[in-house]
Symmetry: C2
Subunit: 441 residues, 2 copies
């Protein structure tokens, strides 16, 4: 065995992931050293709360409430920022970098919203930021995109990136219960936060897409480059209808690069065909399907969050930093350097998409002709339709339609017009259908 | 953008993968340089055959039949050995290393059978071998195991590693045709070689398991550490029976490390439950499910072979070499250095497994009691059974049994005894059932 190199680590934030990382550093350091020649040494853990019980007992003297005892300790090489949020965390990153330390983090919100400032500070300090843990927990997707698929022009990236949303949608599909009651159940079981807003409204998924898209397409992505829709309005009826037509509803992060180089980035509930591998990803799991011009379609699956899975990813980054590999990979990424051509972003209205529409129409002669005409006027071609016999309130019947690909803008206009139609009188439910490209044999 | 570093490459072997690599190096070098700061430069391609048409036209003067024009060219940093086989290829590796060049390769047979000598020569020369392309084509599985999951003690690795076998088994399952006719069809379509022996007898899968297992479990694996059984004897009847009982038959590579540290390595046809993600991997695709003690279960999926997918993996290795990342990662792997404790290998007879058995029994009173007694005597407990009404030749009926876990040795002995039983009179068909551990929530 070659000589062992020591990497000294300070953890800031002794919550779930901080606890998981401390556990690995205390329990597995020796095995890891045998395999890598790198000895990971936990020097200090800082948290405002030094008294609550955690799932691991730290050696005497390791836990402190003073951040400065990490920042000002010149023997510490790396700060693991596991605080979360975008205010204190940003300060920790900047201070750690200025103090000549690398940073590893699971903080997708911070990197998605303040990445430019943080990357610039890292380059300035000649240090790197390890952020494998920021996307998809333990799945090495940052590594796959940054290194494994580097020879590829990425054409499409389709991800289930938020475990809470996927758990809720999976439960609704399996149990037939509605959004509200499944959310309450998810909160009780720990799969959803007390305030789940950022998860269910798609923001967390978009944070991760900003990072993964930045690597995949080689540029800096701003949050307002991403169109975002959450799962709050998914009705159990649409899940049933989707299933009847051979689809499953998932909250997807989508990044696509067209042949002209323009990039589309969006997060929205999506009907995907039940035979697509992503359709089988259920519960709190994450998965990302990536298509490259050389490699074809690849897929990555695993636990997208959780104490040990996320800590596993943080540890991989620590090893890469100690080996000296992070610095080089980090400094050559256009997302980090901000050099190279800016990405040309294609806005949602200019995308072609298929749609699922559900409306309640009056049960009277001529109705089909009326909505059919509106769709036709907007160049929207119907691919499938279901109108079960039976009645809704006010002598209405539910009509479900799927369309051929059409411009988002056309659909937007058609929905406006349908809402004004007397025999409908409301804006129809509209969910996008995403046909994930197959890797043809 | 930082300064661009040039990596000069010589390709040896201008077959399928060599052509794919040349295509990437000629067509995508500029994009890759923009993203990585590394300029990949194809200097020379050597092959005995310099006249057959290929899918790419090389610039004048690049193609040569003289290997020495690569080995003796001091301006070339890396040799891409894409010849295959274990004789000439070995010589190429050793000569390239001695000449001070790194080597990248897709040659699983060579590394599985002569890895020790080659790794030692690389360490001696202070160069590295990049072998991402040797396993699962474009799927970055070597990278995931070596880097992404480095914090983990790998507990289990379950892979569909051979596209030919998976294509054949998938086709048998879908079409109901028998092994021979599906193989002929696969050969006609280019999914099977003219001589498919090493694919269908499991050797190719075992080569890959030797490499992936070596990384995952941190040690050098010899080919005779691996138990190997191929798919030549899979009967369409067993595929039907498996399906009726909720299973799919796949050729699996299995690596498991028990709590006592002992490692079991085996390649054999396996009944896996139809709901397992690996069961959905069909056609020529590959997938690997990896369970780590921290990360839980992760899975990697993609095209396991083919010109561009494999070339994509070779290119990723070239970038890693140019960035200087390969050298460090390579030299710290116990599989490469041969240091550290040797793996304790658990032989097949000592494994506990579930089994599927099919036998033809005489249709007469007392038969069930007879074979039931033999199984019981060997401590084999029946979990499920099917005996459809109907007749086989000589007044026999087919009986299908699945068992609870039992020692391989017990089953081996029971099969011997069943074969001697007058009412059976032949060694029953026996296929292992593999319960891939779920990542419980």
């Amino acid at each position: 065995m070659a000589e062992t190199k020591v990497l000294r680590i300070g953890i800031v934030g002794f919550g779930t992931v901080g606890t998981g990382l401390a556990k690995i550093l205390l329990e597995d350091a020796r095995t890891i050293a045998d395999r890598t020649g790198i000895r990971l040494e936990l020097v200090r853990v800082a948290d405002k709360d030094t008294t609550s019980p955690r799932k691991i007992t730290l050696p005497e003297g390791l836990l402190t409430e003073e951040l400065d005892r990490i920042i000002n300790d010149d023997s510490i090489h790396v700060v693991a920022e596991l605080v979360g949020g975008t205010t204190v965390a940003k300060e920790i990153h900047l201070r750690a970098l200025r103090a000549g330390k690398h940073v590893v983090t699971a903080n997708k919100a911070l990197l998605a919203e303040h990445g430019r400032a943080i990357y610039a500070a890292a380059i300035e300090a000649d240090k790197s930021i390890g952020f494998e843990a920021s996307c998809c927990g333990g799945i090495p997707i940052v590594l796959a995109l940054r290194t494994g698929l580097i020879a590829n022009r990425i054409e499409g990236l389709y991800g289930i990136l938020n475990g809470t949303c996927n758990y809720i949608l999976s439960q609704m599909t399996q149990s037939g219960a509605d959004f509200k009651s499944v959310l309450a159940d998810a909160q009780a079981k720990g799969y959803a936060e007390a305030d789940p807003t950022l998860d269910i409204n798609g923001t967390d998924t978009a944070h991760k897409l900003a990072i993964l898209g930045g690597i995949a397409f080689g540029g800096q992505i701003r949050m307002d480059d991403i169109y975002i829709e959450g799962i709050e309005h998914i009705d159990i009826e649409d899940i049933h209808n989707a299933r009847e037509m051979g689809y499953v509803i998932k909250l997807l992060a989508i990044g696509e690069q067209a042949a002209d180089g323009s990039v589309s980035l969006r997060v929205h509930p999506s009907l995907i065909h039940a035979s697509t591998p992503l359709a089988a990803v259920s519960g709190p799991f994450n998965a990302v399907s990536v298509s490259g011009h050389s490699v074809g379609k690849t897929m990555y699956y695993g636990r997208g969050a959780g104490m040990m899975a996320t800590a596993s990813a943080v540890t991989a980054d620590l090893i890469e930093i100690a080996l000296g590999n992070s610095r080089r990979a980090f400094r050559t990424m256009p997302m980090v350097t901000g050099t190279g051509q800016a990405l040309s972003i294609r806005k949602i209205h200019d995308i072609e998409c298929r749609f699922y529409i559900r409306l309640m129409a009056k049960d009277e002669p001529g109705v089909v002709a009326k909505y059919g005409k509106i769709l036709a006027n907007h160049k929207i071609s119907i691919r499938g339709a279901i109108q079960h016999e039976g009645r809704g309130p006010d002598n209405t019947v539910p009509v479900v339609i799927t369309t051929h690909p059409t411009l988002e803008q056309n659909m937007f206009n058609a929905l406006d017009e349908l809402a004004r139609l007397k025999v409908i009188g409301h804006r129809p439910v509209c969910i996008r259908i995403v046909d994930i490209p197959e890797d043809s044999e």
